[in-house]
């Protein structure tokens, strides 16, 4: 009994390839109008690609969902682990303030409006003046510290203030203001890391050592007069000394001939961070993808994916 295309593809995807299966698959694909014309001639041309071609065709035909498989493949390729979680849903209770949070975080804590969302989540019975607090905070651009002054003027209990603070923390989470502060101070980025790296390079201990040695020598020179060397005038020892010095100098010279002096590209890589590299133009081949990203410590990376 001849099997249909879907059945054959499922078997091929599972790795069960029998003699004649590839030819049969090509015939069925060529005759199937559901498969795009430009794809019909490309599939099942190589035995090594059989499983992948079968999986792709099943997806084209609507018989398979590759979403999770793709996620696993992307996760394995980029992060070395196949535990990439695709979950874009919102927990209940967050929907009311989701737009508020997103807008606020994108503005980097400037003009972050929390009043409405915070007030909504507080118990109504214990927060009779919620709307007043919300309006006051809104007018002050969402500054939490203003809520305290407003609440104090309204004569509100400490318990309510604690609830407001906890609600703000719960809704706003952690807001990174460092970038905004650095920008206000005129820094493209806070150059702490670069400064530390520049300063920690070489530590010159020579002055300290020499100072200590000099002090010792000063103390030693105050001792008894050093007697004249016992071997003064011996030509035999003088010759050995010169020979030794000549041998040392020759070895140093030969050493410098064969060993390159100084640093090169392999010494002291200092990676440029965002703001220190500007990609003015970027073009790449049709069969590759290029992404600009940052390393784990902020270095700018142009990553070329040739397997796209």
């Amino acid at each position: 009994m001849s099997e249909n295309l879907e059945t054959l593809l499922e078997r091929l995807r599972g790795g069960q390839v029998r003699p004649g299966d590839l030819e049969r698959a090509r015939e069925l694909v060529a005759a199937d109008a559901r498969v795009p014309a430009d794809l019909r001639a490309e599939v099942f041309r190589s035995v090594d690609d059989t499983e992948a071609d079968a999986a792709g065709l099943l997806s084209v035909l609507g018989h398979d969902d590759l979403g999770q498989a793709i996620a696993e493949a992307v996760g394995a390729e980029a992060f070395g682990a196949a535990d990439l979680v695709l979950d874009g849903g919102l927990d209940d209770g967050w929907e009311a303030i989701a737009s508020v949070l997103v807008e606020g975080l994108r503005a980097e804590a400037e003009g972050f409006e929390v009043a409405e969302g915070v007030v909504r989540r507080l118990p109504v019975a214990a927060f009779a003046h919620g709307s007043l607090v919300g309006d006051a905070v809104s007018q002050e651009a969402g500054g939490v510290e203003v809520a305290d002054a407003v609440s104090a003027n309204l004569g509100m209990a400490d318990g309510v203030l604690g609830q407001v603070a906890a609600a703000v923390r719960a809704e706003a989470g952690t807001v990174d203001v460092a970038a905004a502060v650095a920008e206000a101070l005129g820094f493209a980025e806070v150059p702490v890391a670069a400064a530390v790296r520049a300063e920690m390079g070489r530590v010159d201990v020579v002055p300290g050592v020499l100072a200590a040695v000099g002090a010792w020598r000063a103390e030693a020179s105050s001792s008894d007069r050093v007697p004249a060397p016992a071997n003064a005038g011996s030509s035999r020892f003088g010759f050995a000394g010169f020979a030794l010095a000549a041998a040392v100098l020759v070895s140093v010279i030969v050493g410098r001939l064969v060993i390159p002096v100084g640093g090169g590209a392999t010494d002291g890589l200092v990676f440029a961070h965002a703001g220190e590299v500007v990609v003015e133009d970027l073009q790449y081949g049709a069969d590759v993808q290029v992404i600009q990203t940052e390393g784990d410590e902020g270095a700018v990376i142009l990553w070329v994916d040739e397997e796209a």
Binding site: A78, F79, G80, A81, S235, G238, F239, F242, A243, A245, A246, L249, V250, V252, I253, R256, L257, P260, V261, G262, G263, G264, A265, T266, D267, L269, V270, F271, A272, E276, V277, V278, V279, E280, D281, L282, Q283, Y284, G285, V288, V290, G295, D296, E297, G298, A299, V300, I301, L302, W303, V304, D305, E306, E307
Partner: protein, 169 residues
């Protein structure tokens, strides 16, 4: 003092006087434009930029060249890369609008053109070619003086090639 001792003393003094010039770049292998070789030691002339390219093989060997510890920290996001090995280094000093070409491992090629520079940064054009001599990447970047940018992801053996590109002047 014998005549031989006097001659030896003269040899020592001659070595001391000649040490500075002998150990300099006159005996170091000059860098080959477009190829490998040891980096030059002299500072670039006015308006010239020294470009250094390192070819790094990122793999899963677990061995990290001590010179590449900083690079390995930057690429920690790629958990499968546990080993980093320096395959080669290339350097050249370029005047404005001057180009150089480096032959890289994996039958790849990189062309670098220095477009301009100022006190803070240098503008360079980087072109990378595949083993089939097709242009894979063509980018113009401004890099701060003394800093390095990472270009990577090219297939090589069981891993990838990572190319830190540095400019200095």
């Amino acid at each position: 003092m014998t005549g031989f001792t006097s001659m030896l003393r003269g040899l020592v003094f001659a070595c001391v006087l000649g040490l500075g010039s002998v150990g300099g770049s006159a005996f170091a292998a000059p860098p080959q434009p477009g190829g490998g070789g040891h980096p030059r030691q002299e500072q670039p002339a006015a308006n010239r930029v020294k470009v250094d390219v390192m070819v790094v093989y990122a793999n899963s060997s677990g061995k990290v060249d001590p010179r590449l510890r900083e690079l390995s920290r930057e690429l920690a996001m790629f958990q499968k890369f546990t080993g980093f090995q320096v395959l080669s280094t290339h350097t050249d000093t370029l005047a404005p609008n001057q180009s150089t070409s480096f032959a890289l491992e994996g039958r790849r090629k990189m062309d670098v053109t220095m477009l301009s520079r100022d006190e803070a940064q240098a503008r360079v054009r980087i072109e990378l070619y595949s083993p089939t001599n097709e242009k894979t990447l063509d980018t113009t970047v401004s890099i701060h003086r003394g800093k390095s940018m990472i270009v990577g992801g090219f297939k090589y053996q069981e891993g990838k090639l990572i190319l830190p590109v540095s400019v200095s002047y």
